[in-house]
């Protein structure tokens, strides 16, 4: 008979989410629901009536891990709506900023997943905060990579968190020749470290893949060979940057997108019937607790071509580079491979950037209310912002953020995994939950949905 177990909150990722899992007698997940429990932010409602300059800055505040992606997607959706072409050097700066964000985010994620992995040849899990070698030098390398990513972001974008430099129509400030050299030097330094870090991470991940069991709360849990496998599709718009509705051939299609309500997707009211007080940290939810993912989930389920899709590093590599490894480990390895990719692309962009070039468009139209969208390849996947701007004011705004896409896909990928490893599967998506929390009112029907949520 199936039992219900709830892990709430899930740990070592951004935001608040939980797992409600229906498991069989052997503890294998039959149906997994991973849902966001971060309260709705309401950024999309706040945006209405604000100026097009303000809204991307507000949108960026939805999260501090990839604010760069939100700023860029927000600004570019405004530019797509008003149909504003920006100068080449402004594009280069945004490209550099984008990759700087990806670099620091991958490094941060390394810290979050290392405690799930083992030092090769031992049964010791990696504690990234230990002062002992060999982990210490790895941790230092990770911090240096983050520092490099954030410093490059600061120089090109004004700020590593919530970048101030990008604006509708380009960038506020061009970087000087000295700043260009600084970014170049840092990127070159980062490249060496990124190669080392990628090799290290892949070695550790392959070691985890070869293992038969993992220790969770003192119990040896068998690791299935197909941990995290799913049959959903991949969605990616660009290996590094993104696409907008202004492109000649956009790589994302609004008409293929549809969003459904959480209660069409998640399980209904249930009672927790399995609990493990030894599960880290603090045990799972006690038996007898009522759970209701349908009503508790603070997110919609976006679909592309009628089904949830995976977005993120593996989706990018699978779409653009023929990468074909499935499962949790495959996903992690794809992310590590983006380390060096992003630095090579960054170095090329810095090289091409002209410090004396123009960075603001000569003419910035104020918009006629037509819809424009921009998709940005954030570290954890495709971040689409949609906007309608008229006379410089935002009429309508919507954000389709990476982890929203992944909620449905990851829930599907949980099936077949031991419930104790469900969080390991979730972490492979590098979830960033706070921005993934929102409701979109698309049509009259959905307005009733919003009311329902408030009840």
């Amino acid at each position: 008979m199936s039992k219900v177990v709830e892990i709430s909150p899930t740990t070592r990722h951004e935001g608040h989410s939980k797992l409600v899992l229906k498991v069989n007698d052997a503890g294998i997940i039959e149906t997994g629901n991973w849902c966001s429990i971060t309260p709705v932010r309401g950024v999309e409602k706040l945006a209405i009536g604000k100026t097009m300059e303000q809204v991307p800055k507000i949108a960026s505040r939805v999260c501090g891990i990839c604010p760069i992606a939100h700023t860029l997607a927000g600004i570019e959706s405004m530019e797509a709506s008003i149909k504003c072409e920006i100068p080449k050097d402004a594009k280069q700066l945004r490209f550099i900023l984008q990759l700087a964000n990806r670099l620091h985010s991958i490094a941060l994620h390394n810290i979050l997943i290392l405690p799930d992995l083992y030092i090769p040849g031992t049964d010791t899990k990696i504690n990234p905060f230990t002062p002992e070698e060999p982990v210490r030098s790895v941790a230092k390398r990770i911090q240096r990579l983050r520092e490099i990513g954030q410093t490059i972001g600061q120089v090109s974008g004004g700020e590593a968190i919530h970048p101030s430099n990008p604006r509708v129509g380009g960038m506020y400030k061009a970087c000087t020749e000295r700043a260009k050299t600084k970014m170049y030097d840092l990127a070159k330094e980062g490249l060496v470290l990124a190669h080392q870090q990628m090799d290290f991470m892949i070695a550790v991940l392959r070691n985890f893949q070869k293992r038969d069991w993992a220790d969770v709360g003192g119990a040896k849990i068998a690791i299935p060979k197909d941990l995290g496998y799913h049959n959903q599709g991949y969605m990616a718009t660009h290996p590094f940057y993104g696409t907008t509705s202004m492109d000649e051939c956009p790589t994302w299609d609004y008409s293929r997108f549809k969003e459904v309500r959480p209660w069409d997707w998640y399980m209904g009211e249930m009672e927790v019937s399995l609990a493990d007080p030894k599960y880290p940290i603090g045990g799972t939810t006690p038996v007898g607790t009522k759970v209701n993912p349908q009503m508790e989930a603070c997110t919609g389920i976006p679909m592309y071509d009628g089904a949830p899709v995976e977005v993120g590093p593996r989706a990018r590599l699978a779409t653009f580079k023929g990468y074909d490894e499935k499962g949790t480990v495959g996903q992690h390895i794809a992310r590590q491979m983006e380390y060096t990719d992003s630095l090579y692309a960054m170095i090329a962009a810095i090289d091409e950037y002209n410090p004396s070039g123009k960075v603001v468009a000569d003419y910035i139209p104020q918009g006629d209310g037509s819809m424009g969208w921009a998709a940005n390849e954030a570290p954890r996947g495709t971040d689409v912002h949609l906007a309608k701007v008229k006379d410089g004011r935002v009429l309508w705004y919507s954000m389709l953020v990476p982890t929203t896409w992944n909620f449905g896909t990851c829930s599907a990928a949980l099936t077949g995994a031991p419930w104790q490893l469900a969080e390991v599967v979730v972490r492979a998506y590098d979830p960033c939950v706070s921005c993934a929390t929102h409701m979109i009112v698309i049509d009259e029907d959905n307005r009733i949905v919003a009311q329902k949520l408030i009840q």
Binding site: Q154, V155, E159, I161, N165, C175, T176, R178, A179, M183
Partner: protein, 289 residues
């Protein structure tokens, strides 16, 4: 009082040994020389100075990364130059890692406050390598300077070669050789009202602070205040950048500096007290408490 000069490690009367610097300097060329030396030595990789603005004698913060750029910003411009507003940008799109900044006592307070509470100044505090403060009794808005020069001194702004406050007068030197002196009684009403709550005359929070008061013409009084300031100053002296005289042997010396500092403090304390009873049932805050 006894605290009017702030804490300092050493105090001398000094002037630059570089004739080029002295040519366009206000007094002893201390700021330009010290920044130039720090740039050469790699102690700073750029300095925020008062560069030329769009209008004559209206300064604009400017990030000088070469000696030539520093030289172009020599001399005092008696109106507001928001140097601190550039401090973040210097570390961002200008790509500086070691920033030098020159400013009035209030600007030094802002720099230190920014280092202590870096709100909106992420990763900026540790990049401030040398903060040079200049003595300041009060400052003027640009419009005031226009009024003083064009109306009171009857000179066109473009035609002014140098402005100076000294010996109890505001001096305007024209390019054709005219010299106009205005009694400070005339200039008082043109001062920036915000300056009247300031209790700092000699930039107590700078690494090195300097000004003409206390030294002979063409020389400046220099207070070396912090470890960072001491290290730069000692290196600059060793490199022969400055000639110095012990401040005790100089006339009028520290006595005058103390006198003026006390005057400023006493005068502005009165304003602070007035403000405590100002307004409708709600006093204005004393920024020093």
């Amino acid at each position: 009082m006894g605290t009017e000069l702030g804490k300092y490690k050493s105090c001398v009367s000094a002037r630059s040994t570089d004739k080029e610097i002295l040519k366009g300097a206000q007094d002893g060329g201390i700021v330009t020389q010290l920044f130039a030396f720090a740039l050469d030595e790699g102690i700073i990789d750029g300095a925020i100075v008062a560069g030329a603005g769009d209008e004559p004698w209206r300064p604009r913060p400017f990030i000088a990364t070469t000696k030539a750029e520093l030289f172009a910003a020599r001399g005092t411009k008696y109106n507001i130059c928001p140097n601190v507003s550039f401090i973040k940008e210097a570390t961002r799109s200008y790509g500086l890692d070691k920033v030098g900044i020159v400013g009035t006592p209030c600007q030094m307070q802002a720099v230190r406050k920014g280092q202590l509470y870096p709100i909106g100044l992420r990763d900026v505090g540790d990049k401030i390598a040398l903060a040079i403060g200049i003595f300041c009794m009060e400052n003027f808005p640009y419009q005031s300077i226009v009024q003083l020069v064009e109306d009171h001194a009857a000179m066109k702004m473009e035609a002014v070669k140098k402005m100076e406050i000294g010996k109890g007068k505001f001096w305007v030197y024209g390019q054709r050789g005219q010299v106009v002196q205005l009694p400070l009684k005339v200039t008082h009403k043109y001062e920036q009202p915000g300056c009247h709550v300031c209790l700092d005359y000699v930039a107590n929070l700078a690494d090195v602070s300097t000004g003409s008061v206390g030294s002979a013409d063409g020389w400046s009084t220099v207070f070396v205040r912090t470890r960072a300031g001491d290290s730069v100053w000692a290196k600059a002296i060793a490199a022969g950048c400055f000639e110095t005289q012990p401040i005790e042997k100089v006339k009028p010396g520290l006595e005058l500096v103390s006198k003026l500092a006390n005057e400023k403090i006493t005068k502005n304390k009165t304003t602070l007290e007035e403000r405590a009873t100002f307004g409708v049932g709600k006093a204005l805050r004393n920024p020093y408490i």
